[in-house]
Symmetry: C2
Subunit: 141 residues, 2 copies
């Protein structure tokens, strides 16, 4: 890999900053979460708590799976269920000191990773698209 140095660069050079990331709160209804996913066009977004700490992820299949009844999709459940009832919580995340090499390994199985500071405060996300863009550039060097 001509530029071994890219593997050791800090991930903060590659992240989408928190203010540009669509997200929901743990206490939001599933209806609100589905609206955020629909309006942003993203299939999954981070879930934060009131202190802006990363708590998990929510995706459209998690929401529709939760309201899937035996006969039909029970849409009336959306208003009464909360994000924290269906979100996934066992996702790996990065901290601000991590390097590109570690992010590459984790992105194999995750479309994006949340980045937090040492206090756990949400700083942004790192996506497969950005990692692939840089790998694509460096493989030819």
């Amino acid at each position: 890999f001509e530029s071994k140095d890219v593997l050791h660069t800090n991930i903060m050079d590659y992240i989408i900053p928190a203010e540009k990331v669509a997200h929901v709160q743990v206490g939001n209804s599933l209806e609100h979460a589905l609206l955020i996913l629909t309006k942003s066009g993203y299939t999954a977004v981070p879930v934060l708590d009131a202190k802006y700490r990363f708590q998990g992820l929510i995706s459209s299949p998690m929401i529709t799976e939760a309201i899937l009844g035996l006969e039909r999709i029970e849409f009336e459940k959306l208003e009464h269920m909360k994000v924290e009832d269906v979100m996934s919580t066992d996702n790996p995340h990065l901290t601000v000191d991590d390097q590109f090499r570690k992010a590459l390994g984790l992105l194999i199985n995750h479309p994006f990773l949340c980045v937090t500071d040492e206090k756990g405060e949400f700083q942004g996300i790192l996506t497969r698209r950005v990692i692939l863009k840089h790998l694509n550039y460096h493989v030819d060097q």
Copy 2:
């Protein structure tokens, strides 16, 4: 890139074959498509026609966007709308002779790519996960 040879390998070594790929037909209702996405857990799947040719992609945001009314999500529309009314059709795809290098460039902006033979018949898909798995292995060599 130690193993420049991986860049020139044929993509058929990396694809998920057609029989393992969840898909929908152009004529299916949006309700059917939402059920397939929910049950498979995938956020987007290929759309094929009756002759098994690749026609486009459908994702959960495309479906929920189509039924989003001014006041509420109008779920009753799902039964009456068809996949071909909302699917995206301008997606790049690969053919069976393409190489890893070309797939890497296209996967920067697409989570997966459909693969067809010279007659346009669907052969399978190539995903970011598989490409990242191999890049992750080769960067350390």
